[in-house]
Subunit: 308 residues, 2 copies
């Protein structure tokens, strides 16, 4: 299962991670109780007509988690702190639940079954509303001292730069995360409403501008949207260059709703890695994830079966 | 042994890495043949009066190396490419030589014997003429697909930023490496020669300005030098924040001639990590290396004894 800021996703997979049944619901982000009710309903829907599966349920969350305790330590987008999701959901489902970070789960899935298959030195960068990531180094998924290794969303990309949702400034996420693209677009159309007419019309209002609005307008040739996507490509490329230099992976899998919404990001990153990285880092292949928005849920299922 | 852009260092260590004898020489960076002659002379000096040691010689080089083949693939500051240092030096010394990257060697030494002792999730950042680094993750020194993991000198810190010695722009090293501090100082005094009077007088000429000149002038209160060190602290702190967020280490050991020359960098980084990192990354302890400029040579000796 995958629990995000607005959606819940349930997959039933077989032993090799293939999807046998699935279901999806939105939730209103109104606290752990109501959201976990939606999680239970979604899993019941996905299982309808199937014999009850055995084994551990894997749940990925867009959060800092403590996997050993099944604890969501901090989920900025859900606004949860210290929620024992594993225990609460386990009691409802009457089976063990393994809670994992969503970027780590997506990395695990792309490594096992997707665009990272057969590589032992891999970085997976996930750009959706926020920016997450995780590294496989020498055939092991990297954890970090406090389960947060690979959080490249908070690489500092500009001195005294844009305010992030974290305590920092100038973070990668504050330029390329979905929320940041939307915020940059709102600022741009407020600064020049006549140039922003098309964007505002597409969204309905300035407040309802989203990253997808920008991508749709840019595809239609809107100049202000093209400027925004062009700058996003540049920042994205800088971030991927940093990842290639710092982690020296064989392959960099890029995925997430923003990457799928504006696929030129992949090409921009690939060119930048070749042209601007140090020689050993320039060899990294930049590839699009193969599992789409199912990656985290599939990874959670696989990690629930994995030892350790 | 440690081979840098201007100096060669030889240490004789016992089984636990303690220094029994040592010697140091400068070289003129006039190609592999003459430089390896200096290396051989330095080792002979260090061994004078000692019984000939057994085992493998460890040699750290400020270079991208292929440790399995004993090859210096690319040493930007030595201007060497594809030099089989292990074989050439091994033939001269009549014993096996293990060639390792200097930042990895320093990391290994600080981890085994210094400021990183007893930590299994460690990052060691080395800021000298250039910027290098290496990570210990889950009790293993990280290698990367092409032996260059941890090269955080080429994290992109500013969009369209300063030109680096690598093909990139805006790299961490292009702000805080010793060469970059010197270059920034030369630009500043050229832009305002009257404000730069004290700096120029200390160095003898603009061309001879070095990072150490800047630190000495800043200690004496020179305003332009204080501005330069203040900006260096800010960039350094941004880089350490990025490392803490991306690698999530328990401890970050900072070392190298620039850090020792301007120790306020340690405090600036420590404060920034606490104030500006994500919560799990903000727990990283920032500490000064304990082995000084012997770290790389000690690490090379230890790695020569280590299996694998």
């Amino acid at each position: 299962m995958d629990l995000g800021a607005t959606n819940v996703r349930a997959l039933l997979t077989d032993g090799s991670g293939r999807i046998r049944a699935q279901s999806r619901r939105s939730h209103r982000n109104d606290g752990p109780g109501p959201v976990l009710n939606v999680v239970v309903r979604t899993i019941e829907e996905a299982l309808e007509g199937s014999p009850p599966p055995r084994g551990t349920v894997g749940l990925s969350v867009a959060a800092q988690v403590d996997p050993a305790r099944g604890l969501v330590v901090h989920a900025p987008n859900l606004r949860w702190r210290h929620v024992p999701v594993g225990a609460r959901l386990g009691a409802r489902l009457r089976r063990p639940v393994r809670v994992v970070n969503d970027a780590r789960a997506a990395t695990y899935a792309e490594w096992a079954l997707g665009a990272g298959k057969s590589s032992d030195d891999l970085f997976c960068l996930v750009v959706g509303t926020g920016v997450g990531g995780s590294a496989v180094v020498g055939g092991r998924l990297v954890d970090g001292a406090y389960h947060a290794a690979g959080e490249v969303g908070h690489l500092v990309m500009a001195p005294r730069g844009r305010k992030c949702t974290c305590p920092g400034r100038g973070c990668f996420e504050a330029y390329v995360g979905g929320w940041a693209i939307a915020r940059r677009a709102r600022e741009a159309v407020r600064a020049d409403p006549s140039a922003g007419r098309d964007l505002i019309a597409r969204a309905g209002s300035v407040a309802r501008l989203r990253a997808e609005t920008v991508f749709a307008a840019a595809r239609a040739g809107d100049p202000i949207a093209r400027t925004l996507t062009g700058m996003t490509e540049e920042y994205f490329a800088n971030g991927v260059v940093s990842i290639a230099n710092a982690f020296n992976p064989e392959r960099i899998v890029v995925t997430g709703a923003v990457v799928r919404g504006w696929p030129r990001l992949v090409r921009a990153a690939r060119q930048a890695v070749r042209a601007r990285c140090q020689p050993p880092a320039a060899r990294a292949q930049v590839v699009l994830g193969q599992l789409g928005d199912s990656a985290a849920a599939i990874g959670a299922a696989l990690m629930a079966r994995a030892p350790g």
